[in-house]
Symmetry: C2
């Protein structure tokens, strides 16, 4: 029988890597040390993932490793910051070698893709809880803030929405999906793609005003931009790009799940009409499709309309961790 | 009946403060933005506190707010980094206003004392879990690393050890303590004092080699210095300064709890004999007592001795989160 893993063995075996990194000092001291690039600002985001809240009990460890970092990288992308490093704090019910190997594999595959180095953290025994804090860099003045939307801006969405929400409905038996469709939709839920290249390219080009990542559903997240920017918006719900599986569902479901699905990890950003061609060109160079889906208004409030411009009442609610 | 708190109300009401801070952009966007001081390195530490593991169920929220930040500031102190900012990720079984108000009070009282600003984080529903990531600054080359101890160094300890461990023994009925003594010892357990001023002063003066903060018990934590520095040590256990309550207990208990108590959050550091006077002077100016308790040896291993220099076998074990 293999020996029980101590806390220090666990860190050494699964999370310390023998390769040169960006950090001046990484795992294994009281603190990690980062030397910031001269003249850059540091963007910092922290997300905590809890079993039965953000993922199912028994969720695949590799996917969980991916998703835990992906949701944080998505926050950097929404700010236009280039990923540099992250810390990982992990509470585990037990030190399960199979789980740890899978989790580390998913985590590092995504981290390596983005040159984002694990520089420190903590492990403890406790109900499964994954807390990642991520660090990115960007030039001063370049950050895409929620408060920067202006009346007249176009509203843009990256990628496609709603397949993660559709997978949840499939798991909950609220929707009956063929196994292949459920698997496709579920991949969006379990292994979202943070839009780092697009977010950074948009911020560096200086052609975008506000941005946010869509984690709690578009309507709620766009609402944060509207509130912070003291503006309103009109959203063409039928223009919202649906994920490939959701695109085959009826229009009522499509509207609901694209407008307020959650777990999308796409970017929603606003930009002046003069930026349209530049945005389209950047999106192509990043390999990330983008779609114009509405406009920012002077008038407060969010107006949902259909393809004909007629008002829609979808009775949507955004996700809130403490409501029900 | 007061209305239920939403996630956003909770953050706004208890954790967003209307005062100018160090951050370029704080709570309320996808990321916080920090502008590092030119030429400084950033020290980063992350600690996760879990109910029934790091604190009792039903622990006083104000003390918990203090301790959650204190253990992180202690890591900065051990590196010699000046606190700048922190993020807070919080999983809560429910949004309890009384608990939140107490937690925020304890947290911000200590944060303000150290000019350390809350710049972001996350809140979610889940088993109580507190994850703080703290950021400090220091000049390149000034960090007090675990790997820097040299044979011939003195070993120093700040403050006093063991009262936190004695309080735990009192709570567990392993030791019978008068209520006033338990209360005094328990204050060390619940509201430790991170030795930030001392750690920074020592690092800035450049008179110290290695340092670590004592969280899992001196013998275990000093062991990390020995391993990282490829040296050994002789520790005069009877020279270890005991907390005021432990100081009144018998010598066997005093030896055990000072040498391997845990939850002390004092600094253990090594320095050449030539630094003795300078260290004593700095300690006085910081208002933090320091005591010389041993020396670093070329020979590997840690030798525990009594006041007469005779070997002691205390059968100590250091704390490990995954053993037992």
């Amino acid at each position: 029988m293999p020996q029980a893993l101590s806390e220090f063995d666990l860190i050494k075996q699964y999370f310390v890597r023998q390769r040169p990194g960006r950090a001046t000092l990484g795992i294994g001291d009281d603190c990690a040390l980062l030397t910031p690039t001269a003249g850059k600002q540091i963007a910092i985001s922290s997300d905590m993932l809890v079993e039965d809240r953000h993922f199912f009990a028994g969720a695949d460890a590799r996917m969980l490793g991916h998703k835990s970092l992906a949701v944080n990288l998505s926050d950097l992308a929404a700010m236009g910051a280039r990923p540099v490093a992250f810390t990982l704090a992990l509470a585990l019910p037990q030190a399960d070698r199979h789980w740890l190997a899978g989790f580390a594999e998913g985590l590092f595959a995504l981290a390596d893709e983005h040159g984002c180095e694990l520089i420190g953290g903590d492990t403890t025994k406790g109900p499964l809880n994954i807390c990642i804090t991520v660090f990115g860099e960007l030039a001063p003045g370049q950050a895409l803030r929620r408060s920067a939307a202006r009346a007249g801006d176009d509203i843009w969405i990256s990628g496609a929405l709603g397949d993660a929400r559709l997978a949840l409905a499939g798991y909950r038996m609220e929707q009956n999906l063929p196994p292949a469709d459920l698997a496709t939709a579920a991949a969006r839920m379990h292994t979202p793609t943070p839009r780092v290249a697009l977010g950074c390219a948009l911020a560096e080009a200086g052609i975008v005003h506000a941005a946010i990542d869509i984690s709690d559903g578009l309507v709620g997240d766009l609402g944060h931009i509207l509130k912070a920017s003291h503006v309103g918006a009109t959203l063409d719900v039928d223009a919202l790009p649906a994920g490939p599986v959701l695109a085959r569902q009826d229009s009522a479901l499509r509207r609901r799940y694209t407008a307020a699905g959650g777990d999308d990890y796409e970017l929603c950003f606003t930009a002046p009409a003069a930026s349209r061609d530049a945005i389209a060109a950047l999106a192509i160079s990043c390999g990330t499709p983008v779609t114009r889906v509405g406009r920012i208004d002077t008038e407060a409030g969010l107006r949902l309309v259909d393809a004909a411009g007629l008002p829609l009442d979808l009775q949507l609610t955004s996700f809130d961790h403490f409501s029900g």
